[in-house]
């Protein structure tokens, strides 16, 4: 008898979720299209004035990416809860927080990464100055995993409730305020030619904290959710 090693189990969870996303790759396009459309609406609503758009470009891209991620967040644990895969995961002889961390990673790769890829396109469309774009990308690379981890805890907490989409949005959006403030702060500092490292480091510190704590909280919350 050969028990599965933890590394193999983690790799298997990551591989399966990526494979599932690949089999349903049409679904992965929805958040990207959503972000594209929302960002396009702003010039229509505010008028195509370069200076105005450039001033608010970073904020628009950040909020748009945040909303697009929120759209896809509910699919993180719900399918597994409904088809019984989650029970198998919970009862497996493996550390649950690590397995859930792999699920969050797979979810970040399939939803947030495509959004980060199109972020420069959105930023350019809104006339964000070139020197600020690199900072925006760095802020997104630090901020989106943080949002995925925060969101995962809330998804786990609301997993037992029926139709939790709206509840999820109401709970998550207040928690994203610091992420938006630090990310937008870094970009506007870069635009003004000021030092922008400090807000990015704050994001990094929060991400390091969330990386450790969020999977543990997810595991505890999902065990409670399955009680229902």
């Amino acid at each position: 008898m050969r028990p599965g090693s933890t590394a193999a189990a983690c790799a298997a969870v990551l591989r399966r979720d990526l494979l599932l996303a690949w089999r349903r790759r049409g679904d992965a396009a929805f958040p990207v299209l959503y972000a594209l459309i929302v960002a396009t609406l702003f010039p229509f609503a505010l008028g195509p004035e370069d200076a105005l758009l450039a001033r608010i470009a970073a904020g628009i891209v950040l909020v748009t990416v945040l909303l697009a991620m929120l759209l896809a967040l509910d699919a993180l644990f719900r399918p597994d809860l409904e088809d019984g895969s989650l029970e198998l995961l919970l009862l497996a002889p493996q550390p649950l927080p690590l397995l859930l961390g792999m699920k969050i990673l797979a979810h970040w790769i399939t939803t947030a990464l495509p959004l980060i890829v199109i972020a420069p396109l959105l930023a350019t469309m809104l006339h964000l100055p070139a020197q600020a774009q690199a900072v925006l990308l760095a802020a997104l690379l630090l901020g989106t995993p943080l949002l995925s981890l925060l969101g995962a805890v809330l998804v786990a907490l609301t997993a037992g409730t029926y139709r939790s989409g709206m509840l999820l949005a109401l709970m998550l959006l207040p928690l994203t305020v610091p992420v938006v403030i630090f990310a937008a702060g870094a970009v506007s500092a870069a635009e003004a030619g000021l030092p922008h490292l400090a807000p990015l480091l704050w994001l990094g510190a929060a991400l390091a904290l969330a990386l450790v704590l969020a999977p543990l909280a997810c595991a505890a919350a999902l065990r409670i959710a399955l009680d229902a």
Partner: protein, 213 residues
């Protein structure tokens, strides 16, 4: 509630009861399950069979009473890897093939020596369907794909919730064969059934859950 206490039970429960919102779901009941034994839990719909299994699997906290696994009070960590729970929801991903589903399972739970997911698929009567997406299988075939886990995982205690549901005559015979082989290896199994399916093993003990009105 008729169970005789055998010596050195693998799974033992005393005064076990569960209530949801102050409404009793089952119990209090006593049960003891030794190695090499199969216990059939019978009861009508809503009598608490599934809840009992979920409590014993560690998915639900017991309301009252105590459960002992291998002589020690039941802890989730002790059960992990030694028990296998097969619920109503089969935990199969519809977009993946049978083999892909089982490979994932094996990576989590480990694999019995000398057996591969492909061989297990053949043994549960799904030869030729290994690479088919689970979405295209019938309800009975999906059940068989889930039953292949029983062959693969090196677990001592099986907690099977309605393993006979959706299966044809050959499928029911297959489950009985799997249970007999498991018992012969010294494994223990707790099987629920609503009683409509004849269970062939005459040596199996029965536990009846009564509907609480």
């Amino acid at each position: 509630m008729t169970t005789s206490p055998p010596t050195a039970a693998l799974l033992e429960a005393r005064g076990l009861a569960f209530a949801r919102n102050d409404e009793p779901v089952f119990g209090p009941l006593d049960l003891a399950l030794g190695r090499g034994e199969t216990l059939l839990v019978e009861g009508d719909n809503g009598s608490g069979k599934t809840t009992l299994l979920r409590v014993l699997a560690g998915l639900l906290p017991a309301g009252a009473g105590e459960i002992r696994f291998d002589g020690a009070p039941l802890r989730r960590e002790a059960l992990a890897g030694r028990a296998l729970f097969l619920g109503h929801q089969l935990g199969l991903k519809l977009d993946l093939s049978c083999i892909e589903n089982l490979r994932h399972f094996v990576a989590l739970y480990g694999q019995r020596d000398g057996l591969t997911p492909a061989a297990a698929i053949d043994q549960v009567g799904l030869a030729g369907y290994g690479d088919e997406p689970v979405r295209r299988l019938s309800a009975g075939q999906k059940k068989r794909a889930a039953l292949a886990r029983l062959l693969l995982a090196p677990a001592e205690l099986w907690l099977l919730d309605e393993p006979f549901a959706n299966l044809d005559r050959h499928g029911i015979a297959l489950v009985n064969r799997l249970l007999a082989a498991h018992a012969a290896r010294g494994g223990a199994a707790l099987v629920t059934s609503h009683g409509a399916v004849s269970f062939v093993d005459p040596s199996a003990r029965h536990l009846c859950l009564e509907l609480r009105a």
